[in-house]
């Protein structure tokens, strides 16, 4: 007898790092620099307690929080989200409209539904090379193809994007291209931040190829880590910086505005944001802003998924934003991550061999380490195995590359997270990893 599973049900692969996490749990002494978890110590336990107590103190505020809401999400939270984004974007008059905003179960759910709304099996997404691996998992599950665009420290390589679009046009595949997916702030996994100039140029390039595609090509901007900046964002860094020469970067003073602020954005930019990473990952509230007709399609899909994100969480976030507790919490988280990133930076300088190139982020949760070409840090490599034996875990960079047969997947990189590990564990973990690298690199 055959399986009753659908093609999707049969095809969907296990998550790239589920076995990593299982492995981590089975070795109690293992130091995980792999997980994208946030820091336990800074979670807003007291703030959440206070705000929930306020919400549930009276039936007047408590009952609506415990009742169904609307599919798009709480009106008040959508309004607060719009003004919050406007503030982050420096007051730009832009496409931040509550009526094009949808509240979702983390931004992950938003990404999933957006791909459902846009892509048929066989369609093509353009992605950064490397990119967020759970996004790649959605593509894999849904039979959506992907093409990688070279990533630099200030965003994608525009010449490569243009060459790619031109090639897709010539091969007749451009009509299958639906969007370019960019993780624009302290990217997972590299920590790279995309400049506004690059967003502008990318949007323009996509527009240029729309006629040949026969339909709009969207810029899908994922800003998950946006608020977790803790240092001035490193500006254009085309030159390589080694583990021992990382401090000479020029810097700007704030994160760049979103693509929503660009001309033409209202029709072509889809923005994915979240409150989970900056506030609390156990409070899964994300959001998306979309132009029509994608907004209506995603809203209808959301109606079928769950007809609305849990109201209690939405009321908690709305109150946190309105009271200022949210800003206070994010400021605290930033300070904490800045300290932990500094600990990691120092440990890397001390323990990693000079041949390893480090991409040091000005925010987010990750450092990106590149070994010299030809030395593998992949899942089956000696380095990864030796690291495990020495009780330290990282995410092999190869897991973050799309399945794109037009290039070989680089396997000489590592995502190293300082999000969840303690300062002590960061120091010990990096020392262990450094010792392994010195042995093999």
């Amino acid at each position: 007898m055959k399986t009753a599973l659908s093609a999707l049900g049969q095809r969907t692969a296990p998550p790239a790092i589920s076995w990593l996490i299982k492995y981590a749990l089975s070795r109690p002494k293992l130091i995980s620099l792999a997980a994208g978890f946030t820091d336990n110590a800074t979670l807003p336990v007291e703030i959440s307690r206070k705000l929930l107590d306020e919400i549930l103190r009276t039936p007047k505020t408590g009952q609506p929080a415990l009742q169904y809401g609307t599919t798009a999400g709480e009106e008040k939270l959508r309004q607060l989200t719009a003004s919050h984004l406007q503030k982050l974007d420096g007051g730009h008059d832009s496409a931040h409209a509550p009526e094009h905003t949808i509240i979702t179960g983390g931004s992950q759910q938003f990404l999933y539904m957006t791909l459902e709304a846009l892509c048929d099996q066989g369609d093509i997404m353009l992605v950064e090379d490397p990119t967020y691996f759970v996004f790649l998992s959605i593509l894999q599950s849904r039979g959506i193809k992907s093409r990688g665009v070279k990533l630099e420290r200030d965003g994608i390589n525009l010449a490569h994007l243009e060459k790619l679009l031109e090639r897709l046009k010539k091969s007749g595949e451009l009509r299958r291209v639906k969007a370019l997916y960019l993780v624009t702030y302290f990217q997972n996994p590299t920590g790279a931040t995309t400049t506004l100039a690059k967003k502008r140029a990318a949007l323009k390039l996509l527009k240029k190829y729309e006629r040949a595609a026969g339909h709009p090509i969207y810029l899908l901007e994922d800003a998950a880590y946006r608020e977790l900046f803790f240092a001035p964002v490193a500006a254009v860094c085309d030159r390589r910086s080694s583990a021992h020469g990382r401090r000479s970067q020029t810097a700007t003073t704030e994160t760049p505005p979103t693509a929503l602020t660009l001309p033409g954005a209202k029709a072509r930019v889809i923005y994915a944001g979240t409150y989970s990473k900056p506030f609390a990952t156990g409070v899964r509230v994300g959001f998306g802003i979309l132009p029509e007709p994608v907004y209506t399609a995603v809203l209808r899909i959301k109606g079928n998924h769950d007809f609305g994100t849990a109201n209690l969480l939405q009321h908690l976030l709305a109150r946190a934003l309105a009271s200022g507790d949210y800003d206070q919490q994010v400021a605290k988280a930033r300070k904490n991550y800045a300290r932990k990133a500094a600990v990691m930076r120092r440990a890397l300088a001390e323990h990693f061999p000079a041949c390893v190139e480090i991409w040091e982020a000005g925010g987010g949760l990750y450092f990106w380490a590149r070994l010299p070409k030809g030395i593998s840090s992949g899942v089956n490599s000696k380095i990864f195995q030796a690291a495990l034996k020495n009780d330290v875990l990282y995410v092999p960079g190869e897991l973050c590359y799309a399945d794109d047969s037009s290039r070989r997947k680089p396997d000489n990189e590592m995502r190293i997270s300082f999000g969840n590990a303690s300062e002590e564990n960061i120091r010990v973990g990096i020392a262990r990893l450094g010792a392994v690298l010195k042995r093999f690199a």
Copy 2:
């Protein structure tokens, strides 16, 4: 220029009752007997406040609640769910295994993911005729066909199910049939409860046709309203009961066990449950229990949707279940709905013409009213329009029927909810509706 939307994105229709809800909001004096909302007054405001305060009082319990969890859901909540179901099922040793349980964003998300895992476009789901309309929306969106099985007051008509399976076998379509979907307790929309005998017989019938299908055919049991029983469940009711002769039903003393307790269930029954309806609809926590290989497929899909339901909500439910607060809350809700159902029963007896057949549920949130054949209560009917003009809203029964060209959709029925309306509004609403019916029926 064409749209960039996927086939799914283009196809997905607006939710069946979104315009009803909008309509309701635009007429402040309108009494809605349409919404499936639960009762505001019984929502567990005080209990939630107490439990959340306990959880967030110390970092030790607060931090895990505000951190990411696992994709399958909190181990403790899955264990409590298993023992809770075992208790409801009268201690049966059964397929209630935490390792086959997944916690989801309401049972709606679980239904969505299960359909993703099982059905390709063009596949067939067997459904009750009528059935839960948001389930039909998922089918519509995903291009899944449906065939209706006649519904009686104690569950589907088994002879009809067999005839249908036989017909599908002969037409060669049986290989597209993946599951039979039954809302087994106080069904939405009819209030019907399926007997265990019917579940057993249905499971056996499905099994019988598997060889011809070439793959397993699952029984998907949706028990959303299971815990909201407030009266002994009406037993076999093949005879019609009119609005004026509703009180002579024989009754059993508790809800029937789930299909999970049946022989063969471990391999073929998929169970959808929820804590949202009985506890709080603003706390969206549902769950599913599935056999392999569907469990693994759904788990991977959940990984792509959101890699886990908000932990804070899961911790709240786990604590409510463990402390007994959950049981206490459900008992309170039952009492309240029993009272409101009684108010509606009396109002119906007083105001509805005798020709209207009422299916009175022993639980859930709905009564089902059937007008004599030939009298339409559908969306475009004089009755529905007159009801709106008189500021009372119900759900036209035709919205709850699958698109199945082998029969005409009945349009002479109404779903009338006592869930959200106040007792006074139930009385006034039913009086208004009765006056309309007397005019047209």
